[in-house]
C-alpha cells in the first residue's frame, strides 16, 4: 500500500449502503423477523372532540386469531413521567397525547383502541368490528386568525418569540417611498415518506426492544422510558435504515407506546404499522400558516422596513411552534424590523417539523414579498437582494462564521442564464406556453450538538465506526465513512459505519441538518484518539518498528504509519499483529464550543427557476431549477447534489401541488392518501441542478461543513412562485399554485 491514498472527503463516493438498499438487504424497522410476533390494528376516533361514551369490542374479540383488545377501559395505567428537560423535537408546551389512559378525544384520528391478532388481516378485520360511541363536544376546527394567541414561555425560550422589534418598523414602513404589503398562505402539508411508520415491540421480562422507524434512537428510548417509568438501560431501540422521514420520525409518536403497551398486555412481540391514511393523523405535519409581510424601501431598493407576522396552526393538547419569522429577522440588512407570531389551537393531531421547518415557510412569504418589492421598484430581483446583503446576522448582532451568498447569486445566475430574462411579465413565450424566470434566496441556520462515536481498527486493516446516528436518506452512512477513512488514513472500502442502535455511542437527533457537523466531528475525534493510543502502544513496544520515537516522529497515512522524513510504511495489520492485538478502539466526543456565542452560522443558497405556464389552462410545469449553495465544505458532492435536488422536488410539491384538504365539519384531512394528496412524480421533475461554491467553515466546526438537507427545500417554492408571476403577471399568494388560480 505504498501508493498514496487520495482523500475521500470531497470525492463523489457512491452510497456505501446503495447495494444493500437496491438488493433488498437493508433491513428497515418493519422488516425485522421477531419470533412469535403478533400484529396490531388501531381503532381511531371519528370525531374531533369529546369523549368515548362506550366501546363495544365483543364482536372483535370473537374474531379468530385475536389475542387482545386494549382500550382506555382495560389498558394498564402508564406513568408518563415528565422529562427534566423536553427534547427539542417535542412540542415545548402542553402534554403529549397519552394513549388509552382516558376517554377524552382531542382530534379525529386519535387512537381509542388497538386489536392484536395473529395476522394483520385478522387484526384489521376485528378492528373494523369495534363499535365506539362518543359524547361529542364542539370542536375548534377552523383556522381562525382571530383566535391566535402568543406562544408560551417554553417556545419563547426555544427561539419562537411572540414579538421582536428592532428600530421602528411601522413608522419606517409608513414613511417608505416604495412599499408592498400582502397576505400569504401555506396549507398544511404532510411528509409522506415512502416508508410508513412501523414499530415492533418485544419484551424479554423487563427489558424492551423496539425496532422503530426513528431519526433519533436515543431519544426514542428516553421517551418510552418516561412513558413506562422504566430505566433507559432496560430499553434498546434498533433502527438501522429509515426510508425517508423529512422530520416525521424526529419525535416518538403515540403508536410507539401503543406497540410497547400492546406487547406487554399480549405477552408477545407486537408489530404496529400505520396505514397511509393513518399517517395523516398519527404523526405530525407542516402546520397551516398564514403570514402578513410588509416591506418598505428607498427608491434605490434599500430596505427601510420589514414587518412580518405569522399565524401557525397547533393542536389543542400541545403547543408546537416554528421559527417561521427567523428569515424576516436575518435574511437581509434592514434597520427596522418587527415580527409577530401567533398560534391557533385546533382539534387536530400536533404538527411537527417538516423539512426546513419554519424557515421554508417564512422564506416562502418573505422571498415572494421581496419579488413583489423588486417589481414595485422596477429593479432586478438579484440586484435587490445584493443591495440589501446582510453582512452580519443583525438579529443576533453577530458576524457570520462564513457566508458566500454573493458568490451563490453570481454563479447561480450565470449557470441559469438569468441575464436572458426579459423583466416584463408575459414577455417570454415558447410553443404557446408562457415562460417565467424567478429566483429567491435560500438560507438555513447551521447547528451542531454533542455527539459521540467509537472507532475500532482491526488487525486485518479494516475499521468499524459506530454511533447511534440515523440516515433517513441524505447519505450519512457514506459521508461519515469518508470522514473516518481520511481520519484513519484508510481507503473507503476498508471502513464500515454502523448506526441506529442505542447500544452505540450517543448521537444527537438526525434532523436540522446537524448530523455531519455533529457526528462527523465526533467520528474524527474517535479516530484521532484511536491513532494516539496506537501511537503510544507502538512507540512503547521495544521490539516494534517505531520503538522509542516521539509521537511527532510518526505520520499516519495510507493504511499505516511511517517515520517522518523517510522510512518504510508499516501497515496497520503489521503493527497490530506485531503487538498481538486483534483490535484497538478509540472513543471520541464532540460538542459545540463558544463559537455559537460569538458567531452566527448559516448555510446559504440562491435558487433560480424556470416555469412554463399554459395561458388558457392554468397548468404550471417547472422546466428547470438551478441552485447555487454555500454549504461549507462539501464532503460528498454526489450525495450533497442529491440532497439539494431532492429538496427541489419537495419544493415543487410545496409550490404547485401539496395541500391537505381539511373538512372543518369532521376536523379531518379528507385527501389522506397518495392518490389525492399530490406530490411531484418523475414527469414533473425535468432539469434540476445544484452547484456548490467554494466554502469551508472551520469556525463552526473542525470539519468545516454546514449542513445541506433543510437548505435544499428553502427558497425553491418562492422562486417557482416568482417565476409564475413573471410568466403570467399574476401574483399567487395562496399556495399551492393550482391551475384554477391562474384561469
Amino acid at each position: 500500500m505504498n501508493v498514496p491514498l487520495a482523500k475521500a472527503v470531497g470525492q463523489p463516493v457512491s452510497r456505501v449502503d446503495g447495494p444493500r438498499k437496491v438488493t433488498g438487504h437493508a433491513r428497515y424497522a418493519g422488516e425485522f423477523d421477531v419470533p412469535g410476533m403478533l400484529h396490531a390494528a388501531l381503532v381511531l376516533s371519528t370525531v374531533p372532540k369529546g369523549a368515548v361514551a362506550a366501546i363495544d369490542g365483543e364482536a372483535a374479540r370473537q374474531v379468530p386469531g385475536v389475542h387482545v383488545l386494549v382500550t382506555h377501559e382495560n389498558a394498564p395505567r402508564l406513568p408518563y413521567r415528565r422529562m427534566a428537560q423536553r427534547p427539542q423535537v417535542d412540542a415545548q408546551s402542553g402534554d403529549q397525547l397519552q394513549v388509552f389512559q382516558g376517554p377524552e378525544i382531542h382530534f379525529n384520528g386519535q387512537p381509542v383502541a388497538v386489536v392484536v391478532a395473529e395476522t394483520l388481516e385478522q387484526a384489521v378485520h376485528a378492528a373494523s368490528l369495534v363499535t365506539v360511541t362518543y359524547e361529542e363536544e364542539e370542536a375548534s376546527t377552523t383556522f381562525d386568525i382571530d383566535r391566535g394567541k402568543p406562544p408560551s414561555s417554553g417556545n419563547e425560550k426555544a427561539g419562537r418569540p411572540a414579538e421582536t422589534s428592532m428600530g421602528d418598523a411601522d413608522a419606517a414602513f409608513a414613511a417608505a417611498p416604495v412599499k408592498v404589503e400582502a397576505i400569504y398562505t401555506q396549507p398544511r402539508e404532510h411528509h409522506n415518506a415512502i416508508e410508513p411508520h412501523v414499530t415492533i415491540a418485544r419484551w424479554d421480562g423487563d427489558v424492551l426492544t423496539l425496532y422503530d422507524k426513528t431519526q433519533w434512537v436515543d431519544n426514542d428510548r428516553k421517551e418510552i422510558a418516561h412513558v413506562f417509568g422504566i430505566p433507559e438501560e432496560s430499553i434498546r431501540v434498533v433502527s438501522p435504515f429509515v426510508g425517508g422521514a423529512f422530520g416525521s420520525a424526529l419525535r416518538t409518536w403515540p403508536h410507539v407506546t401503543v406497540a410497547a403497551l400492546a406487547a406487554k398486555v399480549a405477552g408477545r412481540p407486537v408489530r404496529v404499522e400505520l396505514t397511509r391514511r393513518e399517517l395523516y393523523t398519527s404523526v405530525g405535519f407542516r402546520p397551516h400558516t398564514v403570514q402578513r409581510v410588509a416591506l418598505g424601501a428607498e427608491r434605490d431598493g434599500t430596505l427601510t422596513a420589514i414587518i412580518q407576522e405569522a399565524w401557525g396552526q397547533t393542536s389543542a393538547y400541545e403547543e408546537y411552534a416554528e421559527v417561521t419569522l427567523d428569515p424576516a429577522r436575518n435574511t437581509y440588512a434592514c434597520p427596522n424590523v418587527r415580527t409577530r407570531y401567533r398560534l391557533i389551537e385546533m382539534n387536530t393531531n400536533s404538527p411537527c417539523p417538516m423539512r426546513g421547518p419554519g424557515v421554508a415557510t417564512g422564506l416562502l412569504a418573505h422571498e415572494t414579498a421581496m419579488d413583489e418589492l423588486a417589481v414595485a421598484l422596477g429593479m432586478d430581483p438579484v440586484e435587490l437582494r445584493l443591495r440589501n446583503y446582510a453582512e452580519k446576522d443583525q438579529h443576533k448582532d453577530l458576524p457570520w462564521s462564513s457566508k458566500a451568498l454573493r458568490e451563490c447569486y453570481r454563479i447561480g445566475a450565470e449557470r441559469f442564464g438569468w441575464s436572458g430574462r426579459q423583466p416584463e411579465p408575459r414577455s417570454m413565450r415558447e410553443d404557446g406556453q408562457l415562460i417565467g424566470f424567478g429566483m429567491a434566496t435560500a438560507a438555513y441556520p447551521a447547528h451542531r450538538s454533542e455527539a459521540s462515536a467509537e472507532a475500532t481498527l482491526f488487525s486485518d486493516g479494516t475499521a468499524l465506526i459506530r454511533s447511534a446516528a440515523s440516515d433517513m436518506g441524505p447519505g450519512t452512512y457514506t459521508s461519515i465513512t469518508q470522514v473516518a477513512a481520511d481520519a484513519l488514513g484508510l481507503p473507503v472500502e476498508a471502513v464500515r459505519f454502523e448506526l441506529g442502535d442505542t447500544d452505540m455511542p450517543f448521537a444527537p437527533v438526525h434532523g436540522g441538518s446537524i448530523t455531519l457537523a455533529s457526528v462527523g466531528t465526533a467520528v474524527e475525534a474517535a479516530c484521532r484518539v484511536l491513532l494516539e493510543d496506537l501511537s503510544n502502544v507502538v512507540r512503547a513496544d521495544p521490539d516494534g518498528p517505531f520503538a522509542n520515537l516521539s509521537a511527532d516522529d510518526l505520520e499516519w497515512r495510507d493504511g499505516g504509519a511511517v517515520r517522518r522524513g523517510g522510512g518504510e510504511l508499516v501497515t496497520f495489520e503489521t503493527l497490530l499483529r506485531g503487538l498481538r492485538l486483534d483490535r484497538i478502539v478509540g472513543q471520541g466526543d464532540s460538542a459545540p464550543g463558544d463559537e455559537s456565542k460569538t458567531y452566527s452560522s448559516c448555510a446559504f443558497g440562491a435558487v433560480f427557476a424556470e416555469v412554463r405556464v399554459d395561458p388558457d389552462l392554468g397548468t404550471v410545469r417547472v422546466h428547470r431549477i438551478v441552485g447555487a449553495y454555500d454549504i461549507g465544505r462539501v464532503v460528498n458532492p454526489k450525495t450533497a447534489h442529491s440532497q439539494c435536488i431532492g429538496g427541489m422536488v419537495g419544493a415543487i410539491g410545496m409550490a404547485l401541488l401539496e395541500q391537505a384538504e381539511w373538512d372543518e365539519r369532521f376536523g379531518r384531512v379528507m385527501n389522506g392518501n397518495l392518490a389525492e394528496y399530490l406530490v411531484p412524480v418523475c414527469a414533473d421533475v425535468r432539469e434540476l441542478d445544484a452547484l456548490f461554491v467554494e466554502s469551508e467553515d472551520r469556525i463552526f466546526n473542525p470539519l468545516g461543513v454546514k449542513g445541506v438537507a433543510e437548505l435544499g427545500i428553502c427558497g425553491v417554492a418562492p422562486a417557482i412562485g416568482n417565476a409564475v408571476y413573471h410568466a403570467t403577471g399574476r401574483r399567487i399568494r395562496d399556495f399551492p399554485i393550482l391551475p384554477e388560480k391562474l384561469l
Binding site: 381511531l44 397548468t619 389525492e676 412524480v681 384554477e740
Partner: protein, 327 residues
Amino acid sequence: MVPFAYIAVATPEAAIRRTAEGRGAEYVAGGTDMVQLLQEGVRAPLELVDINGIAFDDVSIAIDGIRIGAMARLADVADDPAIRERVPVVSSALQESASPQVRNMATVGGNLLQRTRCLYFRDATTPCNRRVPGSGCPALEGQNRINAILGGSPRCIAAYPGDLAVALVAVDAEVLVAGPTGERTITVENLHRLPGDAPHLETVLEPGDLITAIWIPLAAAGRRSHYLKVRDRTTFEWALASAAVSLGMNGDTILEARVAVGGVATKPWRLRHVEEMLVDRRLDHALARAAGERAADGAEPRGRNAFKVTLLRRTVERALLQIGGLA
C-alpha cells in the same frame, strides 16, 4: 378489510354463475382499483371472483369495427398499432391514464367500471350516499374541488374519474356484455347511470353481467380524433377536465362530430349541443371558441369546483384547436 372468499375462474360462464347468485360476489381483474377499496373498507364483497384466467385480451380488426377483449391490459391496448392509428383518442386516453405499473395490470373492462375518486367516497369514516345509501353527501358543501359540475344530484356529485370511457363515447363504442340471460350490447354512453336518487347504482349492469369486449365501429374509427387531459401534475393523475373529440371531416369542414368530456361530470359526458354546433362548419379559431363557450352549459358548480366551468370551456376549445392543427 372484511374477510372474503376468493375463487379463480377460467370461463365467463363460471364467472357469471358466481356473481349472478346475488351472494355478494364481485369480479376482480387487474385489481388496481378494487384492492385499494378493499383495504380502505370502502368495498366489502363476500367473494372475489378472479377473472384473470379468462382469455379475452386480444385486439382484433373486423370488417366493420375493432374489438378489444375486456381483459386486455391498458398498456397493451394503448400500444396496439391498430388502436394508435385508427382511434388515437383511445390510445392517448390510455397513455395518459394512471402510471405504467397500473396500466400493465388494469384491464379495459375494469377501467370502465372504476369507482369515483370523491374524497368522501374513499374515506369510510364519513357519510357517502354512493358508499352507504342514505347516509348523506358531505361533498355538496365540502372539499369538492375534484367533483362534478355536470350530471350531479342533491345526493351525489362524484365525478366519473376515467379517461378510456370518455374516449370511447367519442368513437360511438359499445360494450359487449354477457349475463345470466345471454349476451347484449350497451353503448358506452349509456353504460353509466346518473346518480339521481340512487348514486350507489353506477351502471346499468345487472348482477352476473360481465363485460367481455369493447366494440368500436369502423365508421367512427375513420374519423380524426384527439384526447386532451388537463391535470394538476404531469402524469399519474386524474383529469380536472378532459375532452375527447372525434370529427369526420372533408377538408376543414366538419361533417360529423363527437365531443365527450371527463373529470367534470358524474358519468362520461357527451356534449350533443356542442356537436351540433360543429357539424357543417369550417373548423377555425372562431368555431372552436364558440363551441368551447357552450361546453359547460347546464353546469352546476358547487364551491371549490367552480373553476371547472371555465376550465372545461377552454379544454374543449383547445382540443378542437389541436385536432384542427390550429393550436
